[in-house]
Symmetry: C2
Subunit: 467 residues, 2 copies
Amino acid sequence: MQATKDNQDVIHRIDPESSEEFSNRFDALVCLLSEGTDQEVLRQIEGFHHSDLADAFGLLSGSLRKRLLDLVKIELDPDLLFELEDHLRKEVTDSLSPKEVAEVITEMDSDEAVQVLEDMDELEREEILSEVPDEEREDIQVGLAYPEDSAGRRMQTDFVSVGLNWTVGQTIDFLRDEENLPDEFLDVFVVDENTKASGVISLSRILRSPRPTLMREICDETQVIVPASMVQEELALLFEKYDLTTAGVVDADGRLIGMITVDDVMEVAREEFEEDILRLGGVGEETVDDGVLQSSAKRFTWLFVNLGTAILASMVIGMFDATLEEMVALAVLMPIVASMGGNAGTQTLTITVRALATKELTPYNTLRTFRKELVVGFLNGCLFAVLAGLITVFWFYHLNDATMLGLIIAGAMIINLVVAGLAGVALPIFLEKMKIDPAIASGVFVTTITDVVGFFAFLSLASILLL
Amino acid sequence: MQATKDNQDVIHRIDPESSEEFSNRFDALVCLLSEGTDQEVLRQIEGFHHSDLADAFGLLSGSLRKRLLDLVKIELDPDLLFELEDHLRKEVTDSLSPKEVAEVITEMDSDEAVQVLEDMDELEREEILSEVPDEEREDIQVGLAYPEDSAGRRMQTDFVSVGLNWTVGQTIDFLRDEENLPDEFLDVFVVDENTKASGVISLSRILRSPRPTLMREICDETQVIVPASMVQEELALLFEKYDLTTAGVVDADGRLIGMITVDDVMEVAREEFEEDILRLGGVGEETVDDGVLQSSAKRFTWLFVNLGTAILASMVIGMFDATLEEMVALAVLMPIVASMGGNAGTQTLTITVRALATKELTPYNTLRTFRKELVVGFLNGCLFAVLAGLITVFWFYHLNDATMLGLIIAGAMIINLVVAGLAGVALPIFLEKMKIDPAIASGVFVTTITDVVGFFAFLSLASILLL
């Protein structure tokens, strides 16, 4: 941390090697919050980058958090409010009057204000918006009018655009002299006379071109213009694929109404990834900060579905109770086949869900993928058939039917691993076609299939061959 | 697609609403590759953005891919080579002479060249490097000297830096007149007389400041300088947390030796996420493009581990064969407890692994998390105990011991869901402490624990209470 006093801004030098630095400062903050004066606490948090302070809020609990909140809310930093986790942000806005919240969000970029407001209920949002100055309110309302998780919600309505026939010199003078421009921008849009977007030019290219050059001559090779209705997941893929820094957002008539920059998209990409991972793990939108009751409730749903599917698998076993009564070794061995199938199915499923999310799996290679999973399932099925068969024969060597038992588990293993591979591809593709996120529902269903098939194949082979 | 002919660059207008457009062009390409002349194919691919062409390569197979490869390799576009999937890139470089590869990578940014070379074996790399001009070779070797997945590997050695005491006017003139600058840059570094990095300034801020202003006065609030040895996963977290567009990379002596920009970091973030998702799913570094044998081999390992753990669970069942022989209903019901535990464990595990990866779970809240999982496990355990107990009583109402059977499954359910919650937190934290990626190994082990505990609790309760 190094602060230059000849400068209005406090300079935060972030040296990530020493994450201990944060720990130390956080520990000091905790001490001051328990025992220090208000002045001391305020002096301590001055040294925090707003992102670090937001993290500190997340780590504090109870009365310490309450005290910190009471201190910062008097002169609330818009950046801090924006960086807070959703539930902490709600805690802060709930403790402020609508007028106070309005003052803070007026200072934000429109996309940030939209993100703060979108989590509130209608009534609260209206109360706050009525206190926001007209110009800012209009920008925010444009964003809020688009569906959640769309480019329209994420765009900044403040952007820089120049005419197709402007020269580089004209543009540079405009960028230097015009007062009403955003604080920071990476690219400049080029629009035609109807404010239709024609291209994007990076600042470095403008700076590096001779003054008489026309904008139309140096438009970027790759211009990405997205409709405001585009879902944010697509946005992240586009930015990554085409290495973009800025994309223009157009309304239904093709008029440029906003821009999205790569730093916002990084956040979007992370959100989408987290969502996918959590959905694959059978948890909805839970975070480590959720309370006990919230967490229990969020997990209940999938556990409930799983109870249903587990009972289904048990009913399959129940069909063979006569067989099981004849030979208890079957009950001992049957979970192996089901477990192997479940794991193989989850492997295929994971790959398929990712390939769908990144659009690597397309109609062009679906058939190829099915064929491949069939063969992979068969190959691994044969290998594990031999392994499990041999182990069974040695384990139950004292039984007369040991060899037959080995053959039964081997046969069931091949069947189940082939089915696991096919189900692992088919189910996500089917869900995607039905417009259901394949990450959300595949896991439980694939393991249901492999449990049912595993138990059924193993026990029916046994009842045919042994009895 | 709109091409302005008065301009050297072909303008690719990407309209993502119509992904059909790509399909159409790809279909046309397939037709031409099977039946058209070389000229026709070349004209068709001129309309492709290099990223789209790289995708097309991935979708083609066999002789069509071979033909396309032969056509593009004559005048290979460095951007295309860089965008290709690893195994396709290898196919291309293998078909070229070292001299030809050297020519292409010389045209790339140093970080891109490093990424192309890092996948090759030592010998091949040396052969190619010996054909690269001295200056570019040195830049590349600096990058290659750092460990894989480090900031040093990912940095671009070409960056723009100015002095602390330069004025805005001086800087703008330098940016316009100096010939030897990178094609595109978002920020300018400010260095002191020893080329120690003092700050970063965005181009827009430079452009918008009065000409006499000194650089030291407008340095960015947030300056992130990372050591070249930093792992790329950390980089992604930093960029997202502090909303960075550029970070400076310094060597062990603190001298600025390169820069990393946000578009590269987006790719890094995606790679890291994909790795985590695949590891959680029990698959290593597999992609949808892998061949059958590669895929089978990559999945074999975890399936093999799983076979071992499944046998362990079966051995637990085997301990109770006398009990099972008494009452076959136990064999029917026992998978329910294990399955519910497996799912609950996976839920907790997923959340814990993510919280560790994003550094939301720290020593400050570990204890709180344990307590929470204990309560969540107990709450859901009680709910599902009641549900499963009632279902069991109704299902097996014809047995004398139906009520007792219901109590047994209820008791085992509570035990297993509490254990699942604790194991789901403890295991990833333990692995992280042991410096093993918690995503890679937790899944199989958590379900082993819940299988073993589930079967053991259920069957031992049964043998105590029923016999």
